[in-house]
Amino acid sequence: MQSEKTDMKIVPLMDDGYDGEPAKRVLNYLHGHKEKGDPIVGIYCGYAPIELIQSMGIVPASLCAFSKIPIEAAETVLPANLCPLIKSSYGFIIEGTCPFFAMSQAIIAETTCDGKKKMFELISEVKSTFVMDLPQVPDQIEAVQNWKKMILKVQKFLEETFDRSTSDEKIETALKASNRKNALMQKIFDYASIKPPVISWQEMYDVAFLAQPSTGQEIIPVLEQLIEKLDMRVKDGIYFGKPDSVRVLVTGCPIGGDATKVFKVIEESGGIVVAPDSCTGMKTFMGRFDENTGDPIAAMADRYLKIPCSCMTPNTKRLEDLSVLIEKFKPDVVIDFVLQACHSYNVESYKVGNHVTNNHLLPFLKIETDYSDGDIGQLKTRIEALFESI
């Protein structure tokens, strides 16, 4: 990535030897905890109550996978026309090649979609798994109550599995630390709202991957340093892309590993990603926990159910949040990224497209793809044509 102004290579933001390889960085983080004897629990998505886990001194490890390599192995058990994220995650497990899964002593699984639900049944044959029944009509009054009950059940599962305990005070402390962590993450993302952006998609993605499992106490000093570096970039006039690069907001399914082909095609076509609106990007850092309520588990349940995943119905919050992101990050176009066989994101794309074109008057493109490289030429034509239509 070159800076237009100085024409010098920009020093990577984290600059810790893991730049562009966020999975390796997180693995290194987990190894550090493993050596200290900390228990590790596998999780699957942004609804996992990370602060509860952390309040017990347990370390969460995300098991969602983004590599095409284990898909062939997965297809010996799972149907080929399934979501690549599920196939990749499961393929790593049956190949025995996932260090994150190997390190996890138990699994917390959230019922976000049918494919994952049925995969969890297969995983539970291999490792102790607790399936959290995620309410999917979040506006109903019972939804938060039920999610709170489910978090209490996970607490019991973790206490029994790991012989650890927690308290309201410890959870409250974890929530406050997460609020600080998430506020700093939002601040870091904001550097992409500057025209032209002073942070790249790769850097946002690198930071987000590490920040998600980290406790507030661990990551806050790191984030504060990054903000200082970003302020220096602003001062030095360093930025990414060109001043007239097409600003792209990418919404939809999580993007990582082989799926980042979409980000790369956007760049090759003269665009710059200014807002990665997904669970591997900004989504899990949005919002905040109510503090000092006297019932931190309820506060946690309330905040988690506000994550606007397409598994929720109606998912009006996704459109509301998207409007806020559009106002802030000022994209020229919006791309909706849908993974093959992710029916909820795929169907919801129609509403997202109408919202973007009618209410924000921005060009919109839905991309449906998997982890393979076979459609890169077609993606390029679509994305270039989208940019031409501005």
């Binding site: 076979g374 077609q378 270039e384 044509a385 239509s389």
Partner: protein
């Protein structure tokens, strides 16, 4: 000023030269396994002041011959509106891509739909099916129009459709009727794409498949909309690129 457009498609390469927005020269050749040499051969025959490359192979040719590029979506839209200024919808079915495009009154692309990475419903599909049935691709549409009854082909995938065709032949079905059924399956896919981008008005049909009379008739019947086919539908992309080169 002489402006040129070169459209490097998956099956053929077209070259168009225009002066004062009128085509003065056009040439076509197979893309083959070596599109760079093929393009070089075409380019040798002309002189021009400005040029734009478009189509599937635009990046390769653009970098080899140092030419700016645009997508075939923009090129077909520009070419189509130049031939039929009142049209606001374009359907392009080429060798391995099919796309439906709707246009703003200014001629700018409003919305587009493209087939996914599979070649179902494209020229390649029709070509393989014609071969399976022993028809020349140029007569495939005419022969399909001779069918008296409808045969339904449910497979969209080229490989599956070929097995379906083989089993219909084994059942003793008339090959013109099978041909019509195959055309119908391409039409179903194309109309789906068109309806997602526009709901009314004339449609300009471009790309090699627009030369197929059965496709044009069936499209018009199914959509109840007028289908306009330029004289040389395969040249529309290169013509659009030449016009854009001059703008």
């Amino acid at each position: 000023m002489k402006c040129a457009g070169i459209d490097i498609g998956s099956r053929t390469i077209e070259l168009v030269v225009i002066e004062a927005d009128k085509i003065t020269y056009s040439l076509k050749t197979d893309t083959s396994y070596d599109p760079v040499s093929q393009a070089r051969g075409l380019l040798k025959t002309i002189s021009y002041d400005r040029i734009l490359a478009t189509g599937y192979g635009r990046a390769l040719i653009g970098s080899c011959f140092d030419m700016p590029t645009i997508t075939e979506i923009k090129a077909h839209a520009r070419g189509a509106i130049a031939v039929f200024p009142d049209a606001r919808t374009v359907l392009d079915i080429g060798g391995q891509d099919s796309k439906a495009i709707s246009l703003h009154d200014t001629g700018k692309v409003k919305k587009f739909e493209m087939n996914d990475k599979c070649a179902a419903g494209t020229g390649k599909f029709l070509e393989i099916m014609a071969k399976t049935l022993g028809f020349d691709i140029d007569d495939f549409g005419k022969e399909a129009l001779l069918a008296k009854n409808d045969v339904n082909i449910s497979s969209m995938c080229t490989v599956f459709a070929e097995s379906e065709v083989v089993s219909l032949i084994a059942k003793g079905c008339n090959r013109c009727e099978i041909a019509k059924g195959l055309h119908n399956s391409v039409i179903r896919r194309a109309t789906g794409m068109i309806n997602r981008v526009s709901s009314a008005g004339e449609i300009v049909f471009t790309g090699g498949v627009a030369k197929n009379s059965c496709m044009c008739n069936m499209l018009a019947d199914k959509l109840g909309r007028r289908i306009l086919v330029p004289d040389d539908p395969e040249m529309v992309g290169a013509f659009g690129a030449a016009l854009l080169a001059g703008e």
